[in-house]
Structure formats: C-alpha cells, structure tokens
C-alpha cells in the first residue's frame, strides 16, 4: 500500500507526519532541529529518501540539513559524520552553510542595492533560505531561494552552493523591495518537461522566468495590477505571494498575489485575474490538484493588515474551473473564532486518488483532506507556527 509523508517546517523545528495510503492514522516524529526556524523541508522527486531542510536562526545564521533515509537521521552535507573534517589540502569543510552572492568577474554580478521600505537604497545582505526545490531529475541538484532575493543551486547534494547571479543582476534589482516578511525569493517552479525553464517569484519584485537554466531572466508580470506601488502596472515591484502549476501543463500558471488571484496560459507572458467570487482575494497559498489541472485551492485571508480568515472562519476555497468560480470548503475546519494564517509555502497535495490536500497554520495545526478538499481533519493541532508543508507520496 502507498504511504504519505508530510514534511512540516515550523518556527521551532521540523516535524514529519507519516501515514499509510488510507491517511487515517498518523505517526508524528519530531521536533527535528528543535528550537530552530525551519523554513522549508522538501524531498527529492527521484529519491524520496533524500530530504533537504533549511534550518535558520537570527543568532546562528543558515544551516542546510540533509537526510538520506527519509528524515530519520540528518547531517550537514558539507560535514557528513565520520568523514574527515578537512579536504586533502587542509581546507576545513562546512561549506554547506555558505551562501555567498557571486560577484566574480566571470559568472557573477556586482552586489548592488535594493529599495528599502522607505524608498531609499539598502545593501543586499544574505539572511536565510526560504525555499528548497530539488531537481525532478537529479537528487544532488537543488535550487534555493533566499533572502535578500537570489537563486542558488547545488549540484553536489548540498555540500556547496553557487548563486545563479543572472537573476539578481537582471538589471531591475535596485527597484526590488522587501515585503513585510523580507525581500525573499520564495517560489521556485521547475518544468520537468523542459530542463531549461525555471519560474521564480520574489516579494516584492514579482515573477521571473528563465528559459536557459537560470543564466538569463525576464520579468513576467504583464497583467498584474498593484495599487500599493506608484505605477500599479509596473514591470517590477509586485508582491507575488505564491505561484503554482500542474506538471502536465507547465504553461498554465496560477498566482496568489498580495491582493488578487491570477492565471497565465502562456508561461507567464500575460496574466488575468480569476479572483471571481472569493470573499477576499488576499492570501498566501495557492496549489493545484494532483490529477485535475483546472482544480485549484486558495485560503482567503481578510487583509494585508489582518492576517486571519474573514469572519473567523477557516475556509479553503476550491475552483474546478481554473479560477473565477469558487466554492468554500468548510467541513471539518473551524467555522468560528479562528484567527490563524496560512503562509505561502504551507499547502501541498499528495498524488493518491482521491487527491489529498494538506495545509498548516500559524496556530500550529496541520489539516488534511483525503477527498480533494470536501472534508478536513486535523492531523496535529499543537505544533509551533507552521511555515511550510510538503508532501511525499511513497510506493
């Protein structure tokens, strides 16, 4: 029977939730890396036992952790236990912690400034890894989206990381600015049918696409409208919260922006709004059903200053028409006095049939649905605030 492994990153550690294919009885392991902020945990599509975690702290900086046994044991990939602590020439290892912007004359770009909240220019400084996206083809290749916004890649299983500097050096960097959570590159979408194509999104710069495996980039924000920036239809400056696609149709993208839910049918060249009858089109997460490319999910949030659901009712909204027509999914979710948020990386789907949908809240609940959202039940109720949720469907 299939199994499901839910990887949960929280403000105070990582948790792994395991169930068989019925998804009724869950075992919880953790906290892993207790006391650390775990922004993201994600497994390799080609080797599910290979799992990467972003472990971060305002005190101690950025750590990358890796498991080769599905999360039972972990190590920093630059410093595997039992291996020599230095290279043959005596250089200390531990490079897996090292995220340094590439300013080299050959592959790099000069370190510029970006716009600060008050419009002044501010130095570009590495803070943390928000998102890890393992390659669909190679377990040793992983992309990392970081704050201040840039894209890094490892090709040696996380031992060393190198910036794909063409994005940061695209030319519009001085116009990028932080959202409330920082200037983070939070979304990385890899097109498994086209290895050269990468989509990313940055708060608050917008969405970008590369068609040459990350060497060069172009902004893909035509059709976005953001009233909170001086030019609402500017090429740069939109606070994109999350983008999602279905792997069978990588040209169709769905976006939850700061305000507005949008859709692109041309790989991001143009977007149009599909917020339709949502009670509010502010929110963070958006995801696509595993088997129905026109079925999408969002969690509407009241506003950008009130980061909780409207009316205290936690409702997932589902569209089976690729947007515009939405239905509230409430069965099993609290419908009174609920004031949690669902952050941008905190929803995922499994690939079983019926499709399982999972999301975590800032109140520490992780909810799961085994019927594509028709009904929900909490898997755990009392974790630290959930930052991210990913799902692995195992044979």
């Amino acid at each position: 029977m299939s199994q499901v492994r839910v990887l949960v990153g929280t403000r105070k550690g990582a948790f792994i939730l395991n169930a068989d294919g019925k998804r009724k009885q869950w075992e919880v392991s953790g906290p892993h890396f207790a006391g650390w902020e775990i922004y993201h945990v994600k497994g390799s599509p080609v080797d599910p036992n290979r799992v990467y975690a972003s472990q971060t702290s305002g005190w101690f900086g950025q750590i990358i952790q890796r498991s080769d046994d599905g999360g039972k044991t972990w190590h920093q990939p630059g410093t595997p236990p039992g291996e020599p602590t230095t290279t043959p020439d005596g250089t200390p290892k531990g490079e897996s912690n090292k995220f340094v912007y590439d300013t080299s004359p050959g592959s790099g770009k000069p370190l510029t400034t970006h716009q600060w909240y008050d419009g002044t220019q501010h130095p570009w400084e590495f803070k943390r890894v928000w998102h890890l996206e393992p390659s669909p083809n190679d377990p040793n290749t992983v992309y990392a989206g970081v704050e201040d916004a840039a894209l890094f890649r490892t090709t040696d299983g996380g031992k060393t990381w190198h910036e794909l500097a063409g994005l940061r050096g695209h030319g519009t960097g001085p116009q990028w600015q932080p959202g409330a959570g920082g200037m983070c590159l939070h979304t990385i979408l890899l097109d498994s049918s086209n290895p050269g194509r990468i989509f990313i999104a940055i708060s608050a710069a917008g969405a970008f696409r590369s068609d040459d495996a990350g060497k060069t980039w172009r902004p893909i924000n035509r059709g976005l409208r953001s009233e909170y920036i001086p030019d609402p239809t500017a090429e740069i400056g939109h606070c994109v919260h999350r983008i999602a696609l279905h792997r069978s149709r990588p040209n169709v993208l769905f976006m939850q922006k700061h305000w507005d839910v949008l859709r692109s049918d041309d790989g991001g060249d143009s977007w149009h709004e599909v917020s339709g009858n949502l009670p509010t089109d502010f929110g963070f997460v958006i995801d696509v059903h595993a088997h129905e490319p026109e079925t999408i999910y969002v969690v509407p949030i009241k506003s950008d200053s009130e980061h909780y659901p409207p009316e205290g009712k936690l409702r997932v909204y589902r569209s089976r028409t690729g947007g515009n027509e939405w239905e509230a999914l409430t069965k099993g979710l609290p419908q009174r006095d609920c004031y949690v948020n669902v952050l941008r990386d905190a929803m995922a789907v499994d690939s079983l049939d019926p499709c399982g949908v999972y999301f975590g809240t800032t109140g520490g609940q992780v909810y799961g649905s085994t019927d594509a959202g028709d009904s929900w039940a909490p898997i755990v109720r009392d974790l630290p605030a959930v930052l991210s949720v990913e799902v692995q469907t195992l044979p």
Partner: protein
C-alpha cells in the same frame, strides 16, 4: 589547551555535550580561537562569524573572566586565565526574542 563554552544550539550542531577544548598555535586571540574552533568543528563555520567578513554575528557575544570581550579587536590577546585553560572562553547568544 583552550576551553570554549558553546551555546546549546551550537553544541548540538557540533555533536558535543560539554566544553570544547582546543589547541591554539601562536598568540591566543578571539580570531585564533575561532579559527581553531572552526577547523575542529567545520559545521560551525558561518554560525559565529560571517562567512565573508569574519565579523561576529550580531546576536552573539564573547565573554571571559567575567568580562564582555565582544567589542575587543579580534587580534587582541585573550586573558592569561583563558590562555592557560583556567577559565573558558564563552560564546553566548544574546537574550533577545524567543
């Protein structure tokens, strides 16, 4: 031997339970102690000092012999009691946030 006391999270990362003991060649300074620490426990690189600038991370402080050495020059000699191992060199997380 130099004794170093790490904050709990860094002990976990370094897979150590108590104080760390280090052999430091030459003058015993913040820089030489941290160089020796990172050579012996490379998983700690970047967690105490910035990878590039080698400056102390802002929420960490250094103490020894009941004195705050956080703002001393990195190449200033550490107290004799640290050099001869009678007193440890403390790396401490600032009490801030939660």
């Amino acid at each position: 031997m130099i004794r170093v006391v790490l904050p709990p999270h860094l002990r976990t990362l370094a897979h150590v339970d108590g104080d760390v003991t280090l052999r430091v060649e030459g003058p015993v300074t913040q820089r030489s102690v941290l160089d020796a620490l990172e050579a012996q426990y490379p998983m700690l690189r970047g967690t105490i000092r910035d990878h590039v600038t080698q400056e102390r991370r802002p929420f960490l402080r250094f103490f020894a012999c009941e004195e705050d050495l956080s703002h001393e020059p990195p190449d200033a000699p550490l107290p004799d009691a640290v050099v001869n191992g009678k007193e440890p060199f403390f790396i401490i997380g600032a009490i801030a946030g939660g």
